[in-house]
């Protein structure tokens, strides 16, 4: 059992073995989204607001916040974005930057226990990021590459992940607070990338006993029907022991693959979450305890409708 506990002011989410897979929404990231980048740089957060609400409604348990805009004041934009997002939702956040000052500003602005995204195995980065993680009692995403690059050898990547976990321990950060990103590579450009990812995920869980995450859509880069392929990967990765991923929760294929995998892994008791998500809300139930649209029930239709709305999404 390895639990990584993340918190906002009033909600807790746990990434862990034998728990439902945690979906970290990826949309609040200006990389490759010119409009969003221009708006965020100009202090217009309306799109951030809409993306926040849509991702949470679609089932994201956490949100990744990135403000990596070229030639902009990333620390202050990241802090402002975090404050704005925390004012409209209570899902815990992942603070995403490769700039140390931005991570620091983000952590100062954040209310709760954040996931810092990310640290690599590069000595300079370890020394800069890990003290910040410790100071703010946060958890951290550990990307399994170092100065020498992204190895195609799963043993090397595993060794880098192990080194990061050990260095984190030197700084007083427990292994349960290190979520390893094994670096998901495009299956269309690198032969065997899928099997490689599955094998390293399995080893990270069984040998290093850490939680895992990663950019799920990387796997399908350059291919058609990306959502279908992402979904196939996600359900297999969850089978191999992956415990969270950063992805766009607005796509049905990925979400069905994840929620279905939760059922298969036995972490969706009595398939409650699956049914709540996919039950046809328009069908009238015959049961005496009342269906969704039965007239004249105690409390009127209001409660039923509220429940239907809450579980629909």
């Amino acid at each position: 059992m390895t639990d990584t506990v993340l918190r906002s002011a009033n909600r807790e989410v746990i990434i862990g073995f034998d728990r439902p897979f945690v979906i970290i929404g990826e949309r609040i990231n200006p990389t490759g989204r010119k409009l969003l980048a221009d708006e965020m740089a100009a202090g217009d957060f309306s799109r951030v607001e809409a993306d926040t609400l849509a991702q949470v409604a679609a089932g994201a348990q956490m949100l990744d916040i990135n403000a990596g805009i070229p030639m902009a004041d990333e620390p202050s934009i990241l802090a402002a974005t975090i404050r704005l997002v925390q004012s409209i939702t209570d899902v815990p956040l992942s603070i995403d930057s490769s700039i140390i000052a931005a991570l620091e500003a983000g952590l100062d602005a954040y209310d709760g226990r954040a996931l810092v995204n990310s640290v690599t195995g590069e000595e300079e980065v370890l020394e800069a990021v890990l003290p910040l993680v410790k100071k703010h009692d946060a958890a951290v995403v550990a990307i399994a590459n170092d100065e020498t690059g992204i190895s195609e050898d799963p043993d090397v990547r595993f060794a880098v992940a192990k080194k990061i976990v050990e260095r984190a321990a030197d700084f007083g950060i427990a292994a349960r607070d290190v979520v390893v990103d094994p670096l998901l590579m495009p299956a269309g450009a690198i032969d065997g990338a899928g099997r490689q990812a599955l094998s390293i995920i399995r080893r990270l869980r069984e040998e290093l006993k850490v939680n895992t995450t990663g950019g799920a859509s990387n796997i399908s880069f350059g291919l058609p029907n990306r959502h279908g392929l992402n979904g196939a990967f996600l359900s297999m990765a969850i089978g191999a022991g992956m415990t969270s991923a950063i992805l766009n929760p607005l796509h049905g294929e990925e979400m069905a693959a994840i929620k279905g995998a939760d059922v298969m892994m036995g972490v969706d008791p009595s398939c409650q979450a699956w049914m709540a998500r996919y039950r046809d809300p328009t069908v009238q139930r015959e049961s005496r305890r009342g269906g969704r649209n039965v007239r004249g029930r105690r409390g009127g239709g209001g409660g039923d409708q509220a429940r239907a709305a809450g579980s629909g999404a």
């Binding site: 070229p70 030639m71 990333e74 490769s98 700039i99 590459n145 100065e147 880069f221 350059g222 058609p224």
Partner: protein
């Protein structure tokens, strides 16, 4: 000619490239490049050479033109990355035969590119795609890998007498290093000796302008188009002749 009829009957399974006239063979090679058929491309190149084609003509009319078609369909989302990689591999098989002959014959060069990921950055999937597409377009590519300090770029540009510098970065923390490299070229007074192309997910045109690059390249197909265009404008020679030759 009973055998010929036979061949026509079985055209789809077993096409004898030797039986095609030049025009049909070149068209068939375009199809074979599109389908990533390595052995067929090598065979086609050898047949054209045996018919006394100039190596340069084989390169432009058969290979570069075929890869141009591949590039268009990649750009338009009709072909996908694994298919383009197969096409590039087939192209390579043809180039392996042509390269020594081209060097001997002193044929015009498309251009030489030095490409690498900048210091502090180890991402190379996009860079590798650009390398292959550029090679496919007939450029000679010197790939200096990841995590390159200024000295590596300058040493490679000088050693290979390159025309184009390509830099890649995938991080907002590493992309400013492109300016460091370009400033170093300026300090040496050689900035304008090169076409400087930059690319990577967090970049945009404004960034490319601010660091003093010649162009921002959004993907591998676009990189090839921009490189051809800038080389043509710069030299007014080699590439124009290539294009004319390819258009026959």
């Amino acid at each position: 000619m009973a055998e010929d009829n036979n061949l026509n009957d079985n055209e789809d399974d077993d096409l004898d490239l030797k039986s095609l006239n030049d025009e049909d063979l070149v068209a068939q090679m375009h199809d074979d490049l599109y389908d990533g058929l390595k052995a067929e491309i090598a065979e086609g190149v050898n047949i054209l050479l045996s018919r006394d084609w100039e190596p340069y003509e084989v390169l432009t009319k058969a290979l570069v033109e075929g890869m141009r078609i591949v590039g268009i369909d990649f750009r338009d989302g009709i072909l996908f990355v694994p298919e383009v990689l197969m096409s590039a591999n087939a192209m390579k098989a043809g180039m392996a035969i042509l390269r020594p002959l081209l060097a001997e014959s002193g044929a015009p060069q498309m251009g030489k590119m030095v490409i690498g990921t900048v210091k502090g950055d180890i991402h190379d999937v996009g860079k590798n795609l650009v390398s292959m597409m550029m090679e496919g377009a007939g450029f000679e590519v010197i790939d200096i890998g990841i995590n390159n300090p200024v000295e590596n770029y300058i040493a490679a540009l000088e050693e290979h007498n390159a025309d184009i510098l390509g830099m890649s970065a995938l991080l907002t923390t590493t992309m400013p290093y492109m300016k460091v490299v370009i400033d170093a070229l300026k300090a040496k007074g050689v900035r304008d000796d090169y076409v400087v192309l930059v690319g990577g997910a967090p970049l945009n045109q404004a960034f490319a302008d601010s660091v003093g690059a010649d162009a921002y390249c959004v993907d591998a197909a676009v990189t090839v188009e921009i490189a051809k265009d800038l080389m043509a404008r710069r030299q007014g020679s080699g590439v124009d002749r290539m294009t004319l030759a390819a258009e026959g």
